[in-house]
Symmetry: D2
């Protein structure tokens, strides 16, 4: 088994991508994730890949569209404002059924905001991708190892569903260092997907990949095709983790960096006699509706802890549908919960 | 009382805006709403206003930012892909607390899709505005008269809350003609808001309007300020309409063009003995949570009819929280429900 | 007669433009001329004009194209790199026969260079305007008063010839202060040119202004039309000034800021017995070929002093065609000639 | 010796570039040269190169800047309006002393003009490269073989002088087919220039390549360095060809496609007793001043034939400086001289 290497979340994104077979990167720098493109610019030439800093995030996402259309494993990374600029392009990828990995190291918003950690792009990732129906498959790591692993796996998930996959991190995950166990590199040469453009050079028919569907019924069929894939993802690629009391009175729902705070808070509260359990969605879309709903039948209350004014909590409420009260604690703009703060809330619920 | 004038929804948008005091327009053409900028380009010079076709939607929304910062009544209009391109700019407006009217004549998506009518930008309008917390006050007209009225009123609502206001139409509303009763033009000259830039020319202090807030606590305070305004809007500017049976067994929730189909469907179903009532949100954000929740205690079922894969229905479910079953019927890509289709569903619920 | 007002060349550009009837400005800031757009942004709203800071110089020049097509008096201002970005747009103006005033406060080049004074955009102005045949009518002031006067007059020259007019200043002229006698403001309301678009609103036929000419003979006819106008300008709007000895042995050719240095140098050299005369072109295109050629028959030598590696000197050589030796002294990158330096050269010729 | 292969000038550009070691291409399609990027997009991946279609010509030239800074052999190709958009970027390359090959298949101008052949970008190529001092080394082929050869050689010339090299073709050369003898491919792996960025990965010091020179004397030194290289190019890489009567009364100066017409015209005129000689510059900058000047002492007249309103003719006049009369015949906008027409002029001189 390999040794573990100390690296930041930004570095883990780059290394996980390359090990996962990614050989194409297009992006534009923005704090707190500029170290990802910087590292990709150094690493990709070493492995025969293509790195290009685009003129803007609008240009970057459309270059991803082009590379994805050839069946390439392609990634862009950015932080909140940059992902906003990619919304049209992501929607075009839904429409053309193209795989791509989009990493968002979320910073405080709205607007320029600041470069501290936040979770306020939950909607942008799970509901976003701009206009029209279409949602981004979204995974939210809570450690540098998980940043590495999810990035590594996301390219094959994107290819499996012909869809963009979002890795939703934050400014802390991006910059903190933790030991990472690297995985065996996937072969960057793999069979070109049969739908990919360029097949005519390999003896296949010529493909045109577009998002124009003039006839309403054909466009509706596309949407049903996309949502059938989401349903498949909900069956096959749903991920969540549970930690804590097996007979809880309170279920704490939190993801990413907030879940780490909550884990400590639950331990602190347990010492004070509060029986709480952490349910941490790893996939935000598809969402672990069923396990949350099942716990809602058993616990007294659910507490949602989130670094936003209340986005993720809506999905929890949609899962619970009134089966038990859902309480919410949010911070924004780079303000973080302390374990003491959450433990205190748990003690008063 | 004035005579009624026959006009399209696109024309009503332009005329409602000018009567409402709008003197600045920045945009970029896209079907099915290109007649709005065309008409504004003709009308604004006549009333001493400024019309400018920008290089792109990205440019347009940032020009709106600039004009809004001076306290001007400013509008941009587009259709789905164009509004995606505006997401970063809208988020910057949240952050700088700027008023603006953003009209979206929604077309079939995702991607280029087609130019038929759709309602699949519900999230883009109510949850969108890009990254970070912040939501767009959203009004959804169902007639050309209401397009006119809501556009007319939206500038003052935007100024009242220092926030972008979205008018969410669709490709049918944009192009169909109906008689409109025009309203008395508001005075385009009004006191410059005290927060506006440029005040130093009028003997006030110099203002800088930006969305950068380096200190997390200050950015968090901004978000609380924004959400306090949304709470005020929920008290003072919430709008909905109810039509149909006063003792219904089924509540139909639909907005915009879908609500018109549902109104006919309810009449057809009534003739077959089905007691149904239409609740039509006019403001989508703020959302008429309370009235829907109240009906959920009384009816047997709620049916949501919507031209998307299921966006608006989530807000209905969040209002209902399991109080009664919520059924959903959606079409996408320009396919419309027929009244017969909805009446049929009502008969089988 | 009005009092004289102390102002910078940048301010004189803005005030000259407004007095000359300009009511539309599109631009993008760049040192050393950013005070022009800043002043226009303050002044234009006061006189009912339109100021817009574009997304880039590419956007700015195309906005000028649009405004010019309506017959408006429109200006953009920039410095060297920004004018390079406008080259395509200027060529389109040639092709569509559109008037526009383009001010270039030249800085040290090539590339980003620096923000000191230079005259190395002589070709960019007289030969530039991008691809294809077409040259910019170019006027080069040597004082703040002349900056004011030439800008004031350039809008009517542009309209007269349906062509872009360039005012070629430099970083020193832009920022130095001198007293200026302002002129009576021209009426900003004037008859719309008969070729302008928008005439259909005034009972005329609809015009399309474009630079596409598919048939070669038609495009050739356009070029002959443009060059006939240049010939007319050479007859009617050629300008130059001569100062110094009426029976010179040396003719000094210099323009703009360099001519000021040469004037002093000639006085210094005269004190040492050198009979020199300054010929200062005010219009660089059309070029004062005839007077230079006439002097070339009489003087012993011609000295060209210029802040470039040798651009203006080529036009002098084309005028002289070997009639007498043409010597050259150039500096670049913001280095200036001193009067002593030029006087020294004069003494050794 | 290899067989000859029939190909268009566009194809010869692509094949010459790849054989010359070019492995990086950035561009944007425009008629009549879109077949170059199309072919590069197919060929470069086959040889391990990078092809990228940029968002615009502005983006393309700046990508070339980036690749060139690493010492890569990089090319962009376009036609007239596209090259105008590259002017700022080319000037930045002068300033940063970067090699690049820029192919311009000139079309009729100004503006959009048309897609027929023209030679009206002579100034844009030899004087252009935007603002500031700096000129493009320019080679003008007159056959498909020469398109191939000059493109093949241009990358090493660009590296030799650390400067952009322009290949100036036209719409006819781009699309006509002729047999081409291909040359042995140069090794795409070559020692990275010592000035290149990225050297720190190879054990060298870190380089920053920029065009900012704040101190005027330093910027002036850069310009002297650039012009010293031009002087070296005039000694070592000047090219021209002479054909026809060894004791001519008339010297015909023409380049590129016009020279082919003139060659036939001279033969026709010879049959009528006119002794004429063709001097065809292959390098336009550096310009064959000396040979033209030498002939000017011997011939009765010089005729310049050119597809423009008179650009190349200025360089001939600057070489001749009045030693003999210089006559001019120009066509524009895609109109071509016929051999009969030129022969007729020759007969009447």
């Amino acid at each position: 088994m390999s040794e573990r290497v100390l690296m930041t979340g930004n570095a883990a994104t780059a290394e996980g991508a390359i090990a996962g077979g990614c050989r194409h990167f297009f992006g534009y720098p923005i704090t707190p994730q500029s170290h990802i493109p910087e590292r990709m610019s150094e690493r990709l030439p070493q492995v025969g890949g293509v790195y290009l800093q685009a003129e803007s995030e609008v240009a970057a996402i459309n270059m991803c569209y082009g590379a994805a259309a050839t069946g390439a494993k392609v990634m862009t990374t950015s932080s909140s404002p940059g992902v906003s600029l990619m919304q049209e392009g992501i929607s075009y990828m839904y429409g053309a059924e193209l795989p791509c990995v989009i990493v968002n190291m979320v910073r405080g918003g709205p607007g320029l905001g600041n470069i501290a950690a936040a979770q306020s792009d939950y909607w942008l990732s799970t509901r976003g991708g701009g206009h029209g129906d279409g949602q981004m498959l979204t995974y939210a790591p809570w450690s540098v190892q998980e940043v590495y692993d999810l990035t590594y796996e996301s390219f094959d998930i994107a290819l499996k569903y012909r869809a963009p996959v979002s890795i939703l991190g934050d400014g802390i995950l991006a910059q903190m260092m933790e030991p990472v166990r690297e995985r065996a590199p996937l072969d960057p040469v793999y069979p070109q997907p049969e739908w990919a453009a360029g097949g005519e050079r390999h003896g296949r028919e010529k493909h045109v990949l577009t998002s124009i569907y003039i006839v309403p019924e054909t466009l509706e069929a596309l949407n049903h095709r996309l949502y059938a894939r989401y349903a498949q993802a909900a069956r096959e690629d749903l991920r969540w983790e549970e930690i804590g009391d097996d007979n809880p009175e309170i279920l704490v729902c939190a993801y990413g960096i907030s879940a780490r705070v909550c884990q400590t808070a639950i331990e602190m509260a347990a010492a004070r006699g509060v029986r709480a359990r952490l349910l941490r969605p790893i996939s935000l879309f598809p969402f672990p509706t069923a396990p949350i709903r099942a716990w809602a039948e058993k616990v007294r209350k659910i507490l949602v802890v989130e670094l936003s004014m209340g986005q993720f909590v809506e999905d929890v409420r949609l899962a619970v549908e009134g089966r038990c009260p859902v309480e919410f604690s949010g911070h924004t703009g780079g303000v973080l919960h302390t374990p003491e703060e959450v433990a205190g809330i748990l003690g008063e619920l």
